[in-house]
Structures are given as C-alpha cells and as structure tokens.
Amino acid sequence: MVNAIFILVIGLGAAFLLGFLRDKRKLAYVVTLAALVSMAWIAARWLLFFAVDGGARTEIFTAGTLPPFAINLHLGIAEAALMLLVILCGLFSAIYMQNTLMRLGRRMMSVLLVFVMSLCGIILTRDVFNLFVFFELAVIATAGLILLCEDKRTFAAGFKYLIISQIVSILLLVGIIFAYHASGSLNIDDMAAMSSGTLKGVGSLAFFLMLMAIMTEAKPFPANGWALDIYESAHPAFSALFSAAMAGAAAVYAIDKLLLIGASQWLPVVTAIGLLSFVAANLLALVQTNDRRTLGYSSVGQVGLILVVIGQRDILGEHYLYIVGGILLSHAVAKAGLYWLSGLLSQRKLTDWSALRGHPLLIFAFVSFVAMLTGLPPFPSFYAKWDLVMLLAAENRLWILALILIATLLEAGYLFRWFGYIIKREKETDKQILSLASHKLAVVLSTAVISWGLAYLWGELSAHGNLLYALPLLFALSFLLLDQLPARIKNSLSIAGMVAYFMVSYPTYDPLQLIFGAIFLLGSSVILLASYHVSGRRVGFYPSALLMFAGLTLLIVAKDAFHFFAAWEFLTIGSYFLILRGKHSEPHALSYVIFSLGGAFLILAGFALAAQGISPFPLESLAQVAKPIAPWVFLLLAIGFMTKTAVIGLHIWLPGAHAEAETDVSPMVSGILLKAGLFGLMVLLMNMGKQSLYGVELTYVMLWMGALSAFLGNLMAVFQEDAKRLLAYSSIGQMGYALFGLALMNQLGWLMALMFVINHYIYKSMLFLSIGGIAKRTGTRDMYKMGGLIALMPLSFIAVLIGIIAVSGVPPLSGFGGRWIFYNAILESEYRLPMMLIFISGPIAFLYLFRLIHTIFLGQLKDEHRQIKEAPFWILLPQMIYVVALMIFAVVPGLAMRHVDAYLSPFFEGQGLNWEGFTITSHYGYWSPVSIMIVVAVIFATLFAWLLFVNRKAQKVKQFNIVYSAERPFRPETTHFAWNFFAPYRKALGFLMQPYVTRFWETMMDLLHSIADLSRRFYTGNGQTYGIQLLAFVVIVYLFKMEF
C-alpha cells in the first residue's frame, strides 16, 4: 500500500513540475491529469483496504517524531472516502475544463492541483495549525481558480472571498494560539483527550474562535454572501469543486474533527447553525432565477444539513458514518453533477434549461441529481435521511426533525420547479444555448452513473436491504435502457410484465392486497391498452409509468415502515413524471409533487414518531404505539395519506394534475394512484383504530373531512366547464366518500370503501378515457364547445352513459351496491351530523354527471365537428372492457366482496353482511343485484321494443330541424344550451365555491416568496458588508453561547 502522504506529495510535486512545462500546454495537461489519477488511485486503494479488507485506521507520522511534537496524519475509511471524493471531483473538473486549462496554461493547472492537494491535507491532518495552513492554501487557490471564468464579476467575488478569509484567519490564529496555550499541544486528538476542564474558560473561547473560523468555510447562513457570489460567477467546474469538495467535504470534515475537542457541549451550536442554513438557504433559493446561484443556495442548504447531522452525532452512534456519508456524498455528487451540467448551457436563467429537452440522457442525469439532493429513493440520501429521522424521533428531537423536513420540502419545491422548466418551457430556437463537448458530456454522464453506483452501494450497506433489488423497480428501470424502442413494443412489454408479475404473486396476497394488487397491476394493464394509440417512441413515458406502478406494487406488500415509505416515494415520483407530461401541466405537476412530498414527509415523521428507534419497524407495530404519542402518529400519517386522496383543503393539486395529464395518464393517476392513499389509510386504521387527541376523536374528524370532501368536491364539479376538470373534482368527491366509509370504523363502512376502490377505478378510468378520446378528436376539453356527438361517437357515448349511471349510484349498476352498503354502514354508526353532508353530495353528483353527458353528446352538433370520427380503437377497447366489467360487478359484486368481507370480519366483530345466494342482507335491509337487474332489464326491454315497433318507420330528423319561440335558429352554436349549465345552482349555492383553500395556499406561497425576496436583500453584494455580517455572526453566536 502506498503511503497516503504521497497524495499530497504527488499533488504538490506535479504542481512544481509544471513550472518546467512553460510552453508545453498539452504535456502540462497530461501531467495534471496523471497526477490526479494517481492520487485518486492511492485514495481508492486505501478506501478498498478499509472498506473491503476491514483494515484499521492508520497514523502517518512526519519528521520521524510522534505527535503532538510533529504533525501527524490520520487515515481511516472516512478520510479515504472523502479524499477520493475530492480528488475525483478535481479530476472530473480538470477533464471538464480541458479547454479553459489549455488556454490559461500550466499555472492554472498547478493551482488546481494545489487546491485538490490542500483539501486532502485538510482531511488528513490532525494538527490544528496544519489545518490552518491547508485552509489558507485552499483559500488562496480558490482566489486563483476563480479566475478561470471569463466573467468580469468574478474578480469582485474573489476579492470578497479574500476579505472574508482575512477575518477567518485572524479568528483562527487567535483561537489556535490560545488553544495551544490552554492545552500545551496543537494536536487535535491531544486536545480532545484533555479533560474538559482544560478547555474551560480561555480554552473554550479559543475553541469557539477556531470553530467559527472553520465553520465560515462551510458557508453557513447568514455569513455566506461571498460564497454565493462565487457560486454564481465562477467557472461551473470550479463551483462544483468549491461546493462538493471544499465546503461539502473538506470543511465539514474539519468541523467534525474539531468537534472532537469541543465535545458534546458544542454540538447544539453546530446543529443550530446547520438548521438555520438549511432552512434559510432553501427558502431564499425559492426566488432565484439564476441557475448557478440557485445551486449555490442549495449547496449552502445541503452543507447546513450535513452540519445538522454532525451536530446530532451524540445520538447517531454507529450509524453516524452511514448517515453523514449518505448525505454528504449525495450532495457532493449531485451538486457537482448539476454544476457540470450547467456548464453545458450558455444562458443563465433557470428557464433556459429547457434547452436540455430532446436530450434524454441529460435529463436523466438531471433527474438523478435532483432526486439525490431531495433524498428520494433509491439514493444514499434517502437511506441516510430515513435513519436520521428515525433516530431524531427516538430521541425526541422533534423540532430538528420538523425543520429538516420543511426545508427539504422547500428544496424539492424549487428543484422540481426547475425540472418542470426543463420539460415544459419553450425552447428558444433562435439561440444555440446548449453546447455538447464530448469530454464535458462524459463527465456529466459518468457522474450520473456514479450516483446510481452510490445508490446501489448504500442499499447494500443499509440495514433495511437494498431497494434496487425489488423486481418491479428493476423492471421500471430497465425501461430506461429500452427507451429507444417503439412505444408499441414497450407497451406490450409493460403489459406482459405486469400481468405476469400479478400472476406470480397473487397467491401470496390476502384479500385486501388482492383487491389493490389487481387494480394496481391488472387495472393498469387495461389502461395501458389505451396507450397503444400512441405511435412513435414516447420517450420517458414507460419508465415513469412503470416506476409509479412499481411503487404501488411494492406498497401493498411492504411489511415495514421503511419499505412502505420507499414505495410511497417511488409512486409519488413516478406519477409526478407522468403528470408532467401533459401539455400544460407544468404548474399543476409542481403543486402535485409539493403536496405529495409534503404528505410523504408527514408520513415519514409519523413513522419515525411511532418507531421510537425500533428498526425495522413492522407496520403491525403501529398497533402497539403507546398513548401519548399514538394520536400524533395517527394524525401525521392520516394527513399524509389524505393528501394523496386529495381531501378537501389539501386538494388543490388534483384538478389541474388530473385534468392536464395525457389521455391515458389521467385514468392512471385518477383511477389507480388515488387508491394508494386509501390503502395507506386502511393500513393505518387497521392497526391503530380509533384515536383521540384532546378529547376529539380523530376518526370523527376524518368523517367530517370525508363528508366535506364529498360535498365540496361534487359541488365544484358541477360548475366546471372543462370536462376533465369536472372528472377530477368528481374524484375528490368520490375519495371523500371512501374516506368517510373508512372513518366510520365499522365493517360495512370499510366494505363500502373497498367497493369504491373497485368502482371508482372502473368508472373513473372509463370516463377519463372516453373524455380523453373525445378531447383528442375535438381538440378541446371545454364542454360547451362540444355537443351532439352521440351520433358520431356512439361507443364513447355508451361508455359515458354506463359510467355516469354507475357513478351516480343509480340502480341497477354497481354504483348502487356501494351506496347500499354505505347507508347500512351509517345506520350502524352513531355519527349523524356529517352524514347530512354526504346526503347532499349524492344528488349533486348526479348534476355534474348529467351535464357531462348532455353537453358533450346531446344537444346541437357544432359545425366544425361534423366530420369527427369515433375515438381511436385502442382508447375505446379498454372502455368496452370496463363496460363489461361494470356489468359483471353490478350483478355479482359478491365475487370480490364476500372474501373481503370475510377478511375484515376479525377486525369488526359480527358486523358483516350475509351473502346468501344472490341476495345480500345486513341487519337492516337486503339487496339482490341479480333480480334488480332482471326486473329493470325486462321492463326496459319491453317498453323499448314496443316503442321501436310502433315508431319503426319514423324518419330521422336532423337535430337542427327545430323551432322555438316561433323561429328557426340559424346557428347550432347559439342553440346548444351548455355553458354555465346550472346557473340557478350557482345563484343559490355559488357562495360555497369561493376558492378559499386555493387562496389560502396561494397566500402561503406568496408569503414564502415575499419573505425570501425580502431577506435575500440582506446579501447586498458589498464585500465589506459581508465582512460585517461574518463578524456579526460570530458575535451573535458568542452571545448565544455565553456560558464559557
């Protein structure tokens, strides 16, 4: 094994060597790369030695003398890993900057080498003064590397940095010398070994100064204006180094080392500073429009998060390295990757990133990085955050937990907004924004590969098992590779895969899982049939859709909280990508993902609170959660799940997201995805049952929420002019019913909810498909622009007709079964007030459903639609399947339901239904679907046949052949009564339609943005002011932590 000091020697030696290569730029460049490669090789060998061979930490002594009398270096797994990170980052940047370095010559290359070397020195050294020296080296090298950029503004940024570093070095030196005086040593381990008594008084103050100085290099909020300026103006490859290697690795590791001295009493300070940075930076990033500055803010935030983890070291125990490593590496790889990516673009606005469109590989890289930053599975930060949150909750550090989650949400907000820009904003065609040099591309793409490698590695190391081993997930990911195939082939593969998976796995499902599993796997296969109508390649569709289905599939088999949550995140992300594909869906997809992630974080917090450190935490253990926290756990989880079912108040994402999605995506996200929330609620309620908080029974509150959702959702649907929005609001109402049923907490209520799960899947998918097909043909979703399509699109009409009969619960179709069980369920329950609302919502549903069919299919046909054809075959096919399914389910609901009924019985004693032959009986009433169907059908058929017979010779009169008010209308447009169809209703109940909720959330958003916009003015851009801010930061921390 090569002595690790050669990492420093090689770096430095190569830097000196370059002095000979004055005019041989190519050679100089080769030397630089060779040096970096050999440094990386040494670091990698050591890392393997520690990680694979389980080698012990080694000490490297210099000057043949033992510490503390000479400087010594420490090399353990953390050091090796961090050095490898730093060097690779440097290497990649060097490759990336090939042209720039060649242009500027050997000098810059040697500065780069020294920079990388000094970061390694910071990581290795165990001597405080040596730390100072290496830091100064890094600072000066930074001031040099800033010059890599053409941008004139960088000079100012570099000078600001120098001002700060002057102050930092003053503080650090004063701190070091007094620490030396107090301890008689400059060695960190020596100082740490001193009893804490030595570091009282002067020693403690000295430590404070050292800590603040080093901390400044990690760029904590608010003493970091200079750093942001550098991030914004420097060469992106340097920003990558500066963020990933210097702040994100070297500086935080220095703090980590230093804290060995300060011991536990300083951990809260670090935590507080980290939290402040994490929250504030992510908040301020919301209002940024410059990509690199945004990344800068994100860096500050991420380093803040790492500081928080360091500050929580006391409770993390053996998980410390795993957690801090996961977050640190995620940040480093992702941030460096993003900076490198930003170098491919010549424009600096976030919206200019739309230039990436059409480059699936780059988009994939971007997505990987963003997911890594936000801590989404399967990336290391996900595992790390999970463990962190679990431990925080176990130690009751709930504020920290809450702030971390809030800040992460903010971060997800702007990162996903950015992603939305890429996918959805118009490309400026006249400008060539993107330049794809192959070496730069190679750097970016290999970083993306590394990010997945790390994901795999962290999965391997995880105590929870590797998420990447899940078959459905692999199936989804494999479609990334197949994305070049034609869409039809991919479609067949997906359907085959999902059906096969269902066939293999269904014997292991219990009835509840079976229902959901059938919908998630078979149901989605049916919807995918509609996807055959798309020709071409349909890039990105299948990975996203299958990711969502993978999440759903994994969700129902998840045994413990970790896997449940991971699956939840998968389905959220997959569905987000799907929704984003819609033409105008950018803002809606954003609000969808923010609400979903917000909900997911509540779930995470709920699980963490419940687990109290138990890992893995089986879902069944929710039942054992003790009293004082149980209701809170319930509350968090319930709100999280209800976000997914779009309960009123948290619903504003749904209409846009569902309405703007593509034709075959709307049924997926509405008919299938919404069920995930219900499944979660079922798991929750099954295990935790009724909980009360401050004397309020929480299921009772849920009951109200469900009723309100049903009522308001339906009411809002009545007034929509956009057909898909109408259906979307209707989903809110329908989910309200299901929620209500679950919250009734009796067997019938649950049965009804499950009935809704099946029914809603069938009819909502069917309706979305028909409407989608119609919108495709007519080119509009506004119902008043259609009309009279019945003759042209009869099959769509039949689907809608059957659909609305089923939705409204009119016998004899299956919707009635749901209603019947529902009434029986509420008779069993004692709650009467919320039921009134549910009562009202039933008939209201009828209103919008009628409107749907009337304004589209009946009335006058518009001139411009006279040539329209029936919807494409592939869109019609699933609809017809649904029609048949609805009929079957209407006649024999017992096929599915009696098993579930039996399965639910143990949870609710003796409340089940009686399934005798074809008649279903409850304590109150009875219902025989078969005879209803027969009676209705016979009467109907008789009358119909008779009427047909009597009027068999009737002449078909053109629809427009009408007279009213003694005149013939002259244009069909004016004759179709469709717009504002329920005007009287609006007059009577329109006041309930005030968009209070939307306004509430918009105000919240505005407020956040205003705060961010106001507070960022704090960074005046004046280097002197930054100096004052740093001073103020130090003094204020001192005042807070007075007890020296």
Binding site: A791, P794, L801, S808, G809, V810, P811, F816, R819, W820, Y823, N824, R832, M835, M836, F839, G842, P843, F846, F850, I853, H854, F857, L858, G859, H923, Y924, G925, Y926, W927, S928, S931, I932, V935, V936, I939, F940, L943, F944, L947, V950, N951, K953, A954, Q955, K956, V957, F960, I962, Y964, P969, H976, F977, F981, F982, P984, Y985, K987, A988, L989
Partner: protein, 301 residues
C-alpha cells in the same frame, strides 16, 4: 321472499290498478283545479282519451337513439319504482318484486327515470328542453334531500330499511303512524314531496301552460304517451312509499286509494295557494326550510 312465476301476473295486476287509479285521480284533481278557477274543466275520462289517442298515433319523427330511450327510461323508472315497493301491506299478491331491495333501492331508483328523461330530451337538440332539464335537475336534487334525511331518520327510528317491516311497525292504531311518532321526518318528507310532483310552486321546470319549454317540448305521439303514463304512475309510486313510511301503509285497496288521494291533495292544495318559485328560489327554500327539519329529524330521532 323468493321469486315465483306467479308474481309476474300479480305485479301486472298492481300496475293495472295503479294506472287506472292514477288516470282518474289526475283528471279529478284537474277538475278541482278548474273549478277553483271557475272553469268547467276536463271530463273525468279525458286522460283515457288522451292516452289512447297518443298510443294510437305513430310518430314519423325521431332525433336518434336517445330520443327513444328517454321515454323508455322514464317509464321504466316509474314502473320499476312501483315494482320495488310493496303496495298492499300483508298481501303477498301485491308485494310485487320488493324482495329485490329495500328502501335504498327505491330512493335511488327515483333517479333512474329522471336521468333517462333528461337524456332523451337532451337528444332533441332543443335548447328549451335543455334549460328545462337543468332547472329540473337543480330543483330535484335539492328537493330529494329532505326526503333522504327523513328516510334516514325513520330507518334509524325503526332500525330497518325494509319497507314491509316499517309498515308492520306502524300497525295497531293511528297513533303508531310515523306521522305521530316522528312528525319532523314526515314534515321534511312532505315538503320534499311538494318539490317532486311538479306542481306549483315548484313547476317552473315544466311550466306547462305558458311557454313551450321543458322536456316534453319535442315529444309527441307514442313517445308522449309513454311519458303520460309515467306521469300517472310515477307520483303514485312515490306516494306509495310515503304512505308506507309515514301513514301506516294500506292493507287493502280502498285504504290505499284514500290515502294516496289525500297525500296528493296536499300538494294540490299548496299548489293552488302559492305562486311559482324560480329555481334558485326553490333551491334556497328547500335548503332553508325543508333541510333543517330533516336534519332535526335525524338528530332527534
């Protein structure tokens, strides 16, 4: 209860009785209305004539498939409704097909005809028909609400959803009628009843006399005949439910006729006295007066 073939002729018999009773009663009521207005009014057999004439006519006009389906739906709704509730208490013969389902079925089946009618009229392409439908639906949704509440209230009261059992519970004297045991529910239901029989003040939907508006505008001949039939049967079917739930049911046809007539007269009486509401007014009216009573009925039961 199980299905036997003999039930089919029995059900047809019920249908026949109800149809005739309805025709006569409607004419009678019209006559009363005319006399109140100091007019001569129609002869008592006028409805028969109309019906026979309309059934006899063949139409030569159709607007499309839904145009057929509308009246069919409508009448299926009416006939189905009466098939799903027992007409005469204790009589196996006139229990019809009530074994198919309970009150909930009846409650929801009410919408079947409404939906079909609306669809058929919509197919005609006549804007007035659509306007009428929009009004009618708006009004009926709100009008049905107090009824639903009332039914829920009495289901709670009797702890059953079976019509037969509810009637059974009211036997043994007038004081056992729901009218007296649960007056709030009955009040709510009766207010709701006003809204659903299409008589003033809630008849703006049809607005039969003044303007050619509303669903029947484009219908004629045998289409119209089906709808006329339904207008005879459907209110009675609905009143049968009322009678069974609130007024002790009927154990023979005489009582049946009497009770139905009286219930109907309630609506007629109100209609003669009060002027017509606009739709949003009637929605508010139901919301302000009828619904709270229904809510009280549910809460207090």
């Amino acid at each position: 209860m199980q299905f036997e073939w003999i039930q089919i002729p029995y059900a047809l018999l019920t249908l026949f009785i109800v149809l005739n009773f309805g025709l006569i009663m409607n004419a009678f009521v019209a006559k009363i209305g005319a006399r109140v207005g100091r007019r001569h009014g129609i002869p008592i057999y006028q409805n028969y004539l109309d019906l026979i004439k309309n059934y006899g006519l063949r139409s030569s006009i159709t607007h499309g498939m839904m145009f057929y389906l509308g009246p069919v739906f409508r009448l299926t709704g009416g006939v189905g409704l009466i098939m799903f509730v027992p007409t005469i208490y204790g009589s196996l013969m006139f229990s019809n097909f009530s074994f198919s389902g309970d009150l909930i079925l009846a409650l929801y089946f009410i919408f079947f005809g409404t939906l079909g009618m609306a669809l058929g009229a919509g197919e005609s392409g006549h804007p007035h028909a659509a306007i009428g439908i929009s009004r009618g639906l708006s009004q009926v949704t709100m009008a049905e609400l107090p009824l639903a509440l009332a039914i829920f209230s009495i289901a709670l009261q009797y702890q059953t959803l079976s019509v037969t059992e509810i009637v059974a519970a009211q036997q043994g004297g007038i004081q056992n009628w729901t009218l007296f045991t649960n007056p709030l529910a009955v009040a709510a239901a009766m207010l709701s009843f006003l809204g659903s029989v299409m008589r003033p003040p809630f008849d703006v939907v049809l607005a039969p006399q003044e303007i050619p508006i509303g669903p029947p505008t484009e219908y004629h001949s045998s289409y119209l005949a089906l709808m006329q039939t339904n207008r005879v049967i459907y209110p009675i079917a609905k009143m049968v439910i009322f009678m069974n739930l609130f007024y002790g049911g009927a154990d023979n046809w005489l009582v049946f006729f009497l009770k139905i007539f009286l219930i109907y007269m309630f609506a007629v009486f109100v209609g003669v006295v009060f002027p017509r509401f606009r739709v949003e007014q009637s929605i508010r009216w139901f919301l302000i007066w009828a619904v709270p009573i229904g809510v009280l009925a549910v809460v207090l039961v």
